[in-house]
Symmetry: D2
Subunit: 385 residues, 4 copies
Amino acid sequence: MAKLERVRAGMVGGGEGAFIGAVHRHAMGLDGQYDLICGAFSRDEGNNQRTGDSLGLDSNRVYASWQEMLDKENALPADERMEVVIVVTPNHLHVPVTIAALKAGYHVFCEKPAGLNLEETKELANVVNDSDKLYGLAHTYLGYPMVWQAKAMIEDGKLGNIRKILVEYPQGWLSGEDDPSNKQASWRTDPALSGGAGCMGDIGTHAFGLAEFISGHTVTELCADMNIIVPNRRLDDDGAAFFRTAEGAKGVLIASQICAGEENALKIKVYGDKGGLEWHQMEPNSVIYRPLGDVYSVYRAGSGQPGLYPEASDRCRTPSGHPEGYLEAFANLYRYFAIALREGKSGKADGVPGLKSGLRGMAFIEAMVASGASDVKWHAIPDTE
Amino acid sequence: MAKLERVRAGMVGGGEGAFIGAVHRHAMGLDGQYDLICGAFSRDEGNNQRTGDSLGLDSNRVYASWQEMLDKENALPADERMEVVIVVTPNHLHVPVTIAALKAGYHVFCEKPAGLNLEETKELANVVNDSDKLYGLAHTYLGYPMVWQAKAMIEDGKLGNIRKILVEYPQGWLSGEDDPSNKQASWRTDPALSGGAGCMGDIGTHAFGLAEFISGHTVTELCADMNIIVPNRRLDDDGAAFFRTAEGAKGVLIASQICAGEENALKIKVYGDKGGLEWHQMEPNSVIYRPLGDVYSVYRAGSGQPGLYPEASDRCRTPSGHPEGYLEAFANLYRYFAIALREGKSGKADGVPGLKSGLRGMAFIEAMVASGASDVKWHAIPDTE
Amino acid sequence: MAKLERVRAGMVGGGEGAFIGAVHRHAMGLDGQYDLICGAFSRDEGNNQRTGDSLGLDSNRVYASWQEMLDKENALPADERMEVVIVVTPNHLHVPVTIAALKAGYHVFCEKPAGLNLEETKELANVVNDSDKLYGLAHTYLGYPMVWQAKAMIEDGKLGNIRKILVEYPQGWLSGEDDPSNKQASWRTDPALSGGAGCMGDIGTHAFGLAEFISGHTVTELCADMNIIVPNRRLDDDGAAFFRTAEGAKGVLIASQICAGEENALKIKVYGDKGGLEWHQMEPNSVIYRPLGDVYSVYRAGSGQPGLYPEASDRCRTPSGHPEGYLEAFANLYRYFAIALREGKSGKADGVPGLKSGLRGMAFIEAMVASGASDVKWHAIPDTE
Amino acid sequence: MAKLERVRAGMVGGGEGAFIGAVHRHAMGLDGQYDLICGAFSRDEGNNQRTGDSLGLDSNRVYASWQEMLDKENALPADERMEVVIVVTPNHLHVPVTIAALKAGYHVFCEKPAGLNLEETKELANVVNDSDKLYGLAHTYLGYPMVWQAKAMIEDGKLGNIRKILVEYPQGWLSGEDDPSNKQASWRTDPALSGGAGCMGDIGTHAFGLAEFISGHTVTELCADMNIIVPNRRLDDDGAAFFRTAEGAKGVLIASQICAGEENALKIKVYGDKGGLEWHQMEPNSVIYRPLGDVYSVYRAGSGQPGLYPEASDRCRTPSGHPEGYLEAFANLYRYFAIALREGKSGKADGVPGLKSGLRGMAFIEAMVASGASDVKWHAIPDTE
């Protein structure tokens, strides 16, 4: 075994008061494969410095802007400068920062969504394709071991031909009227910072990506019901879609942020002609499998657990019964990203969502917005190739 | 307390091999308020007699046809002849038998649906309105104590204004290709016997009725996705709808009979601006209540349980922790029907679904079929007044 | 199929305000195999008559005492008089009424416990043995389909050799101080009416009987911790035992009526060298099966469900997903009792607990009381042969 | 906010093939407060070096023995040498390594148990008391937010006076006969390496510690049933105890490693005169609270969740619905240890179990072993002051 060389990372965004930046840092830390060595955490100087201090960074490497970070790190010796830029800004900066970072010679690991819209994400895709760097996208739920187990079971034929996909993602945290002092809620409901969709961009894409990932199907058309429920909100906070896949399945997707009392209750159920399966994000260590004509069974995460495919067991750190959760799922993305990086890969890292996921998410959002505004039932999902 | 006089009942349909007839008999028996004294169980003479024998009936009162039953019972002294006709035939006979029975002077308790279509159900409604007899419809799920609890909590304002209703009813028992020897499956998938819809008529109506009942809202328009998934089937076996209510809520309804491995997993979630609640038919003794900004709580069925509204506690027979189920829910409909009957009521019995439920169900089915066949997104639900 | 002749039953006890009498009547009614035709429900004349009226009984057959009932029914023609006496009195009358009824020529179905103590229960056993009548004992939980499924799975070797049995029965309804106006609580906590044990007699015996029934093992010795938790109570309201079986397993039994907030949470887990299984009374339609080295699976009640042994499927009335509960379990005991009765059996009815269960329960209680009062660790269970 | 200075840590034990060493490293990494800079991972040189390499350590700081590590690190400049020794060896080395490390001037964070027996643990306690260094003990379950929530609710009086404590810890992984090639199983079942108890030392102590921690009670006497179930095993693999607390509660503790199919199913239920609560390690983000006479409710982990005490919310990293698990609980211990260390504390770190927990665990094990071998029912727990 070669000696581990920790990946040197710099972060853009993720200052005090941000939610997802801290999550990325936990996920990077869990497996000990990264050193966070620099950052441009906030345009607010005080916040920026305090964040750097709280992370133990050398103050010379807490930069006033991401542009400065890209420049100054490049001036450092190769074995000192950062190797990967972690992008955890509001959505509208994802593409500009990512493109600049890739062009400056850094790998990029970006919070989702990949971009604000399909057009700029396609542009980004071209940059990635022309680059020799890696691009990873934090579709966190695709890091859960049992999501991979579900996918592997379907690939292995345990459900037969897939007929029906039901995915729902109810949250309740935007049930109240928007409070401008809530930084999280506020940029998420601002079209300029968040893109053309609210709820569908924020969590609908997760549901959509999960459905395509687990089933292995490609959604080709959908019919959307897009709603603004809370008064004075500018973007959808609730919606649903019927969908059809190229492979012949039907589906229903529900995503809402006004389901009062719901936490983060992403669930998926997939049914084929030989059986069905079910996975819940809030109880992520089980896949329920219901073969047609037999008792149902429950596959459980954990090293050494029976019935797991390698894709699942490789993503477990603890023996069964020691629950792993969201941060571990996230850490799996970082782990596979580090492996690909040290192996010198470019483009997409095995085991980590990349631009294809990003483009599909954008196409989904655009189709939802268009369909939601239309009286015609079915809309095609734009081409992402 | 007046002395109990058990209600004398006659049954049409429900011979050997039928499912729902036996369920009605269990439900009638549970509270000791009925005597089943006659029947026309099957057009097959042997089946008919064997069924009568298995129930201990006097063979003189096992009739070759329902017409004969109506006639001959009328010839008996008033205190001997049946008082109520239980209709548990395939769907296409519900209206003819019910109308004849009402006109012959009997109360009627009918398995759902009320009729094959909206038109004949409206005709039936007129007959009921002109009659001094009672009409009850076996929307069984409306007999569950905790369904009444959910309704009462919403009426009491515990959820605030209702915004979103999610109801799903997945079953798996029609996942395989139709087997003509399966009597249950076979008439349910035959348009002539079952009406214009398959899955939507069989179980979609339950989901729809539950949504309107618990929320107190009236659905005014919907957008349907109607599917025939299993090859060679003639009626929908899967579908979904978006819907909107007169009171301003949005909703999604899912009903499917090809969800391999699912039993009878009817669930409803309702969200308002002050909280949400959830009820599952397969775990029927709980209502989960999630007030906005507070811990969630669980209301539990059972005599003497805290937090129950009278509508719920009156429908419980046992102390908490002694689970009651589907037959008890069904028996609640029979119990309230018997009470209304002995009180000399006509039309609708308090606590028992009647023609309004029947008409709403028919209107729902017709709207689903029409919307499912259309490229336009939204369809109005036909008027049922 | 022979024509059903309903069993004519008379009830002793079960007047207004009693809990278990009504439960027996629901259970008798559910399958339509009984006619309750007479009773001596209460020594209070008003209560007695009101109860008879509420059940629609002929007032001539509402008797002032059980002695009168036995006598006067005997004077009626054989095809009119009652055939079985249902005993639902407080515990101290179980043996006297049962013996008198058997001697008068009636079958007996008795609420548990069989008697107040082992001595009188042995006396009763002799009477049953000398009689040509049936004796059934309402160990209700042994009527659940999935309890039979668990037993059958163990008999079939699916767990290998049984090593460990864990059974717990927490309730909370006696958490408060005794209120003399609560009739239920009050006789249960009175040694003269209830026997030498409180909680252990009331629910500990259920846990014990369930453990022996499912495992097929015979407990030979135990070590008890018997507690009176609530001030001023005269009988145990909480306790536990370690136990050992003749077949070599170890076990722990917990029963308590002061577990505030618990409903009726009887659970059993059995482990062998090839796997384990688990059943919960409050979710009675599932058996969880955990084979060593394989994923765990869930067997589900319901007619036509996969993996069920006939002992289980014969006890189901509805298709899977239509929950059956406590009253259906109880009704199963009545159903098998009626079948045995019509087949002319004597002694014990197949499928219905009888005196062996009664004796084991008494022996358990006596051993618990003796062990609870002793400083020595292990006590033998008295012989019940 | 002062600038974070990461704690420099060295590890003893935890080479390839060990389970708990990796868990400690994940836990140290999660919050970014530690740098693992040196180690003596294995007496096997190859394993030792490979482990060091896999962690990216400087090979000069991968030491052949822990003694060498203590010495050589001391020779380094103060701002380079390790500050804390992480002890993750088999049990018999816990005390020797810890004492040597403390005497050499290092803080110690030790895997449980604190020692092999009460005697050597008391010796250790004296050393800690005389030292100005910190000592932390990895009673992992005491790092879960909802364990702190349960404790805080009880302290706050929500259960009234505690009457009954039920704790169970069933595992199934030692159901088969011992396989000498399984390193984990093998030292755990060897008295010389593991101490005088098997199952009770390995997991019984967790159950015991959790019961005392949550309830705030001190167990004074117990009655044990200690079993060796699997043939040829030398230490208990199964057992149970009744117990009594100084504050007047009764309890039952069950711990077993032969419960085939069970994962790591630690559960605790506590009942008082005003209500009860329940926590399950395998669903660690909920506390179920059952107030006497009211509906039950569920408190949920997560930043910003309603009803949480600061002790709980401070231990959450993610918003509700993003499950945290075992590694996060473990990381909480490390987090509070780092805080205390940087604050210059000695002895016990706030929020981290210390020697008191260690001594209680040892006293519990000794009482279990003694009681298990005795015919007398009750045994006092040895004094740990």
